[in-house]
């Protein structure tokens, strides 16, 4: 697991000239205890709530109430921040971050990607991962979401849901389109180049669909096309990608004898190495009412 899956997004930062009073108010408003300090777009320090406490008050009552403490109200972030903070790359393994936190006694790391602060990882975040590992039933975080797409109506909604969840968790998304195995067999029998054209058309369509759904979001969607039994292929790829969640659209259809064909989501739940989120097609909720 990489620390990019633990990041608080978007990164909440402050500047060195910000008054301590304002920095503390920002921390309280956003429910955080550490702020990366940015100057000219670069990380120059880390401000912890504890640093502010130390600067603003004294544990000695006589000093704490003394008049000369008044000028402290004019302190700015640069006066108390920790300079030269340890910064990590988003691809840093969680284990490596935990080792550094222990060895260097760091409570929070700024996570920097291409000189830009991408977020903060705290000791509490790392402990949450440890807690998840010790208690296997407790998912520590979403690192990867596999969205099973199709060319049927409603697939876009499933992909949108996958992107929404992944966005909230900072997880990567793969959109997978699986062509049924029968077409592969037809291709093997050399039925013409029609099947190749169909594969290419599906590849373009799923890529277009993923791109459209991802428009306006700061997320990369990797698009893949596979062939084979659909549920098995999705489950197999989820295993290979170490996916934490599969998102799939639901639908009903009738077989040749008129009976309801078991939906993909129902088959997938039995095969999947991770939980499956079955997303109804748009309007299903209203239809159900």
């Amino acid at each position: 697991m990489k620390i990019k899956t633990l990041l608080t997004r978007p990164a909440i930062t402050t500047g060195p000239a910000t008054r301590l009073h304002d920095a503390r108010a920002l921390m309280r408003r956003r429910g955080i205890r550490n702020l990366p300090v940015i100057e000219d777009g670069r990380l120059v320090g880390m401000l912890a709530e504890r640093d502010i406490d130390r600067a603003e008050t004294s544990s000695v009552p006589e000093i704490a109430t003394h008049d000369w403490l008044a000028p402290l109200a004019d302190l700015v972030v640069a006066d108390v921040m920790a300079r030269g903070p340890v910064a990590l790359h988003p691809e840093t393994p969680v284990a490596e971050a935990a080792r550094l936190a222990r060895e260097r006694r760091v409570d929070a790391f700024a996570v920097v990607d291409s000189d830009e602060v991408a977020g903060v990882v705290t000791r509490s975040d790392l402990l949450a991962v440890l807690s998840g590992l010790l208690e296997p039933g407790d998912p520590a975080g979403l690192g990867h979401v596999l969205a099973a797409t199709s060319l049927r109506p409603g697939a876009r909604r499933a992909l949108g849901e996958a992107l929404r969840i992944a966005g909230a968790a900072g997880a990567a998304v793969t959109a997978l389109h699986v062509l049924p195995a029968a077409r592969r067999v037809a291709a093997l029998e050399g039925a013409t180049g029609e099947d190749v054209v169909r594969v290419e058309r599906a590849r373009r369509r799923v890529a277009d669909e993923a791109t459209a759904a991802a428009a306006g979001r700061a997320q990369d969607v990797r698009c893949e096309v596979a062939e084979g039994p659909v549920a098995r292929e999705i489950a197999r790829r989820a295993e290979e990608l170490d996916s934490d969640l599969i998102v799939v659209g639901t639908e009903t259809r009738r077989g040749v004898l008129g009976g309801l064909v078991e939906a993909l989501a129902d088959r997938l739940v039995r095969l999947a190495p991770c939980p499956v989120l079955a997303v109804p097609r748009s309007g299903a909720r209203d239809a159900g009412r």
Binding site: I165, A169, G170, V269, A272, P273, C274, V276, R289
Partner: protein, 143 residues
């Protein structure tokens, strides 16, 4: 603090440890401000119990007993979630699971239904009006 993708999560429980595995994901998805987890248990409608031609337990008595047992089960489960900072409400209903789950989804305006495979599934996945999060038998975190 991360935001949650869902504001109202409905978790269907059946009183078993297997069913409680859904709580791990509910807890995870409910992280962040503003999310509420609703725990639901559906007890089947009771039938009057007769012995020797006499009614020894009436429907309302049996259903009251089932409700009380369900509440007694849900209380500690909800308390554990609250300890983790999750806002939790519990609901006990009597009747047919499919109808009740649909009604509760509508009543609570739930965003997602969370359950473990093996818990009596109230309705097929493709018939659910909202997204359904389900972990199956091969899911190592829940096996």
């Amino acid at each position: 603090m991360r935001s949650s993708p869902y504001a109202r999560l409905l978790v269907l429980l059946d009183g078993t440890a297997r069913g409680e595995r859904a709580l791990a994901w509910a807890r995870h998805l409910a992280r962040g401000p503003g999310s509420v987890v609703h725990l639901l248990m559906v007890e089947p409608a009771a039938r009057a119990l007769r012995a020797g031609g006499r009614t020894v337990a009436f429907v309302d008595q049996l259903e009251d007993g089932a409700r009380a047992a369900a509440r007694a089960y849900l209380g500690p489960v909800a308390a554990r979630l609250r300890e983790d900072g999750v806002t939790v409400w519990t609901h006990v209903r009597v009747g047919r699971a499919a109808q009740i789950v649909r009604a509760v989804i509508e009543e609570l305006d739930a965003d997602v239904l969370v359950l473990t495979d093996g818990v009596a599934r109230p309705l097929p996945l493709h018939a659910a009006p909202i997204p359904v999060l389900m972990s199956g038998p091969r899911c190592p975190r829940f096996a």
